[in-house]
Subunit: 413 residues, 2 copies
Amino acid sequence: MPPTMEALFAERTKWMKASDVRELLKYATDPKIISFGGGLPSPDSFPLKDLKVIFDELLHEETAAAFQYGLTQGDPKLRTALAARMGARGIEASADRTIVTHGSQQAIELMGRVLVEPGDVVITEEPTYLGIFTALATYRPTYHGVPIDSEGLLTDVLEEDLQEMSDQGIRPKFIYVVPTFQNPAGTTMSQRRRRALVDLAAAYGVPIVEDDPYYDLRFEGEAEAPLASYDEEGWVVYLGSFSKVLAPGFRIGWAHGAPDLVNKMSLAKQGVDVFTNAFGQRVAERYLTLGMLDEHLPRIRALYGRKRDVMMAAMEEQFPDGVEWTRPQGGMFLWVSVRPGLDTRDLLPKAAERGVIYVPGHGFFPGTPKVNHMRLNFSFPGEGEIRRGIRILGSVLADEGRPRKGPLAVARG
Amino acid sequence: MPPTMEALFAERTKWMKASDVRELLKYATDPKIISFGGGLPSPDSFPLKDLKVIFDELLHEETAAAFQYGLTQGDPKLRTALAARMGARGIEASADRTIVTHGSQQAIELMGRVLVEPGDVVITEEPTYLGIFTALATYRPTYHGVPIDSEGLLTDVLEEDLQEMSDQGIRPKFIYVVPTFQNPAGTTMSQRRRRALVDLAAAYGVPIVEDDPYYDLRFEGEAEAPLASYDEEGWVVYLGSFSKVLAPGFRIGWAHGAPDLVNKMSLAKQGVDVFTNAFGQRVAERYLTLGMLDEHLPRIRALYGRKRDVMMAAMEEQFPDGVEWTRPQGGMFLWVSVRPGLDTRDLLPKAAERGVIYVPGHGFFPGTPKVNHMRLNFSFPGEGEIRRGIRILGSVLADEGRPRKGPLAVARG
């Protein structure tokens, strides 16, 4: 038998699979489908006029820093601007402890690379952002989920779990949370819980990865200070991103944390891709330093706030009894719970056939999934699409809600 | 004792270290130092006028494809343009079997991720591009080096080695080569050896990673067809890059290979960074499709050809007897051999003190390093700098060549 390529694949390659969300993007490119899936910002939010000003400036910079190779840790000017930005959020930050990454996803991957051995425990919210599962797949952690409610992570439950693990000699490698406008649930962790979480991290010596891409997208209520602002002992690694407030196409994220850790992440990144595209970094730095971001934010907030309102009003009107949803004060997502027993993954092809898609909740659970949830994105679709899409989804849910006769159900199977 | 962060580091983190070249970049930012280190293209080679045209166009594209999230495998238009480009090099290529990466380094990393388990054998040239060592560090292969001469990899030696491994039941995971204007040696593999190498890969079922970033930078002689153009069974993975012919700052590379492998690389990339910055991809596609690259190449070739000539002439004049060097017909590097017994790593601080740096050859060897080599880059420094730098290096080499009296040497130590 001739030698095959497959026989050469590493063990870890057998564990690779596409995330539910990425698979959905295939539908999303069909212009006839209304997509509540994906996590795309609105193209209307891209600051094209600002970008024109920035591009012209970068083409005339003496140093051509935008086009040459750069340092692995990231453009020093951008890191300085990021430290100031984090400072304004109450974080004691420095450029030295900041690393620029090719999107936040890479920062999570680097955390896994530096810390996680197969079988190590990583704690997540339940549900959690599903990108963590693909980011860490190579390092094969054991996930431990802690439920959330409208105030975010249940820190009492976490404390019990940490104590139990500690009794067994288990020290988790990190706790991954999206405390503000959580992906997928849209909830925001209360100040009380934030303080409790940071205290627990210090008490048990477990780093927190605070993924905070939506911080600037609050369209209602008072800002909650990041976990990192309560962190006195350096256990919080803070992740930020330009994907939701500038544009995803430049792929610029960052991480800030303890010097040892950032140094190791930087060494790891050297092997991974040497440095993050310099052009995107210079664009991000100019966008920050010239004050364009702060000028632009009210527009994005107003845009997304209106879209959320349209979606909430439409759901109120169109969804059948027994369906519940969260009410986010910012961000891009909300979380819908349909009646127990209904499986949103089974529902998806029916919804897609009628022209609307969403992300079934299954993929967001670190352990056994709860099957009666879905994540809806309100930032990408237009207001008219949101109304039409929710009407369709409401009718799909209403059909499923009706008791059916056995034979008919089989015939429709 | 309070819990420490270090105690959480994974085993693999202890193996991470900076490459010699990246460390040198620190010197390279000092404008007073003449750098023959690094692998930077000349800023004079950046097509700023073309970029202005492209940027304006991308800001007016209907789809805003340049700014939104994109597919993990890469922009379909760019992949189509790349397939055509590879076709013109004699490769039977398709967009489906092409993946866009965040620089070629990421393509090597993804190959490691998909194929390499700790202890697996990876074959390289000796010397080889040292980025492979950091790219694969996490996967901890065993390297097996095969020497090169002025015709490139010694395929006779490789055949013996492959047979010996095969007898022992060892199937290497891949053979990594830079056949054209090799980094670091500047040599180009002959057609005879190319055919032999591809035949060996097929006979032993071992993939070849053909890293070909300098293909378009030939300023003398006839083009050699890529290994991939001789590949009938799909064992060659072909890597290309825009870093040397457009600008490194966009960080756009690509890989082309067997469908199974590209599919797995794509799945792996999803976890690593989701997709390569869309803006850079659109810039690269426009640069190709509008014919700007082909219009621009003669200028880069002339620029680098002149610089090589200046360096060769200066070495001829300034270097003491017993020093030898390669004569590249393209690319960015040449390889200098000083007298046996002299260690170029010891020499470096002395050269740096007088204002010139280079990369000691040590880091390019997969096994025990030969210590009397250095890599010189001629693409980045200006012609005047090349003359001055070579004069300094010549005087450093001449000083070292002289027999010294014991006490004096100690006093200088």
